[in-house]
């Protein structure tokens, strides 16, 4: 069965490591409920710290060159990637049905991308 990445995009740059409002608590509860309902199709996933904690790595001059790191996102963006799920579903219709239950889809968007089957990437 094909696998899909459901990429969760949110406006602003929320910090989901700190639950400091009733609203965040409610949304966290919704994510928990989604995880439980979709347990059968979820193969992995993670919530990410804010983009302000991001580090970009580039190797100048290509492979073997100088490692250059920069802080944070490249530029101010309206929305950021705040997490993702890896799901295994029969087809696009099924994964759309699941993605529609991810809270970010209710107030922003979730992008579904089919995953290329390359075997085990670690091997």
């Amino acid at each position: 069965m094909p696998q899909y990445a459901a990429l969760v995009y949110e406006p602003g740059d929320p910090d989901w490591s700190v639950i400091d409002s009733a609203e965040k608590e409610e949304i966290m509860g919704e994510y928990g409920a989604f995880g439980a309902t979709a347990r059968a199709v979820i193969r992995g996933g993670a919530a990410l710290y804010p983009a302000t904690t991001a580090t970009n790595v580039q190797v100048k001059g290509g492979k073997g060159g100088e490692v250059v790191t920069t802080d944070g996102p490249f530029a101010e963006t309206k929305e950021v990637l705040t997490g993702f799920y890896l799901m295994e579903c029969a087809d696009l219709d099924e994964v759309i049905g699941w993605a529609a239950q991810i809270p970010a889809a209710w107030y922003n968007r979730v992008e579904i991308r089919p995953v290329i089957d390359l075997g085990d990437p670690a091997s």
Partner: protein
């Protein structure tokens, strides 16, 4: 199916035969190979071979079965040649190669066509992609013909179609008929794609030619195909009726110089009686479906019918048209519907009543037909200076060349303060 066939009537008949079989043969191959791209390639090659062979040796007794069997063989050849294949495709080679998959019955093929239709018109594909796929996969036009019909370069169209098939394959757009819960909405999507194709041909939004007949006739064929594979759906019957009743007037919409002729001035003897009859009889069937409110396509078809049976613009039954617009507003309240209702009210009760209705519509002030309608109503109400300003505004808005020339003519006429009657050029 690619070459013009004026000098070879046998070839023209063959082209038609092959094109009629195309959607069924392709749909059957998509199901048995599980691959949209492979099926397209195999059917395309087979059709080229069939046209060549049949024009020399004659058509075999069962052309459809011949095409399906030959296309399956071709698919196996293509898979072997490519070497690289997925497990799923390997499995389909084994199945096809054994040659024991029976030739599907007509009914099964209808189901395959229905699946193909819902795949091509899947809501996760861009609307422009849906129309291109519909013309290529369901109408059997070549990529070059689709590109011409949709005013794109062949290279750009080829790229769009390849990307579409890639998305269908890797994103897993299903090859199946939606379940009963989703069906009405998904069918609505299919029908609006067909209607979009028709409108693109009927009111070409760009380019030199205001009418593109190939698109209108293909959309009529497509609607008939949907009706054949999904019979008894009032939305489908309503749309078919609407397409016939509008298309019936298409010849009269252009004069000898290629200028657009509005409905009030059309030579009604040019209207196609066969299409009017076909549309009326479908409308009769659609109106017999019990429902509290008419389907929007049925209401639009009824309005088109009122125009088609009117002996002249003046003798049109505007009261009936206004009441169908009222019904349409109840089921599909859009600014465009309200615009056309206002135009009909302008005919029934006079230009001031029409203008009053226009005043109540929002969000359309830069929509060319809205500006044109206001200009016409102002001219009829004798408010010449305002009318001229509106005509000038309409000319500045985007539109095809013939529409612009018509507006320039109307502006010139309004300078002469001509109190001619007005209105919606198409009556729907």
């Amino acid at each position: 199916m690619t070459q013009p066939a004026e000098n070879n009537p046998g070839r023209a008949a063959l082209d038609r035969l092959v094109r009629d079989e195309w959607p069924r043969v392709l749909a059957s191959l998509v199901r048995s190979t599980g691959s949209f791209q492979l099926a397209e390639d195999a059917v395309q090659d087979t059709v080229v071979r069939a046209l060549d062979l049949w024009s020399n040796e004659g058509v075999p007794p069962e052309p459809r079965a011949w095409l399906i069997v030959a296309a399956r063989r071709r698919a196996v050849d293509l898979l072997r040649r490519e070497g690289k294949r997925t497990d799923k495709e390997r499995a389909s080679i084994d199945l096809l190669d054994r040659g024991d998959e029976p030739i599907p019955e007509t009914e099964e093929l209808g189901d395959d066509v229905l699946r193909l239709l819902f795949t091509c018109c899947h809501p996760t594909l861009a609307v422009e992609t849906q129309t291109a796929l519909a013309l290529r996969s369901l109408c059997g036009l070549t990529t070059a013909e689709v590109a011409r019909a949709l005013l794109m370069s062949e290279a750009a169209m080829a790229k769009r179609l390849v990307r579409a098939r890639q998305k269908i394959a890797v994103a897993g757009i299903p090859f199946r008929v939606p379940g009963p819960k989703e069906l009405p909405q998904r069918l609505q999507g299919v029908l609006s794609t067909i209607y979009l194709l028709f409108n693109e041909g009927y009111h070409a939004t760009a380019g030199e030619h205001p009418l593109r007949h190939q698109l209108t006739s293909e959309s009529i064929r497509l609607a008939a195909l949907v009706d054949e594979v999904l019979p008894g759906e009032v939305a489908v019957i309503g749309l078919r009726s609407l397409l016939y009743l509008q298309d019936a007037r298409s010849t009269a919409r252009l004069d000898a110089e290629g200028e657009l002729v509005g409905l009030p001035d059309q030579d009604r003897s040019l209207w196609d009686l066969r299409e009017i009859r076909a549309g009326m009889s479908l409308l009769g069937v659609a109106l017999h479906h019990p429902s509290e409110f008419p389907h929007p396509y049925v209401a639009q078809a009824a309005i088109a019918a009122c125009h088609d049976i009117a002996p002249t613009w003046e003798a049109t039954n505007w009261a009936a048209i206004v009441s169908w617009y009222d019904a349409l507003v109840a089921v599909a309240d859009t600014p465009v519907v309200r615009l056309n209702r206002a135009i009909a009210i302008g005919e029934l009760e006079g230009p001031s009543a029409g203008l009053a209705e226009l005043e109540r519509i929002e969000h359309l002030t830069s929509y060319p037909p809205f500006v044109t309608a206001r200009a016409e109503l102002l001219a009829r109400a004798g408010r010449d200076a305002e009318a001229r300003a509106e005509f000038r505004a309409a000319i500045e808005l985007p539109g095809n060349d013939a529409t612009k020339r018509e507006l320039v003519r109307r502006l010139a006429e309004s300078v002469e303060s001509n109190p001619r009657t007005s209105a919606d050029p198409d009556g729907t």
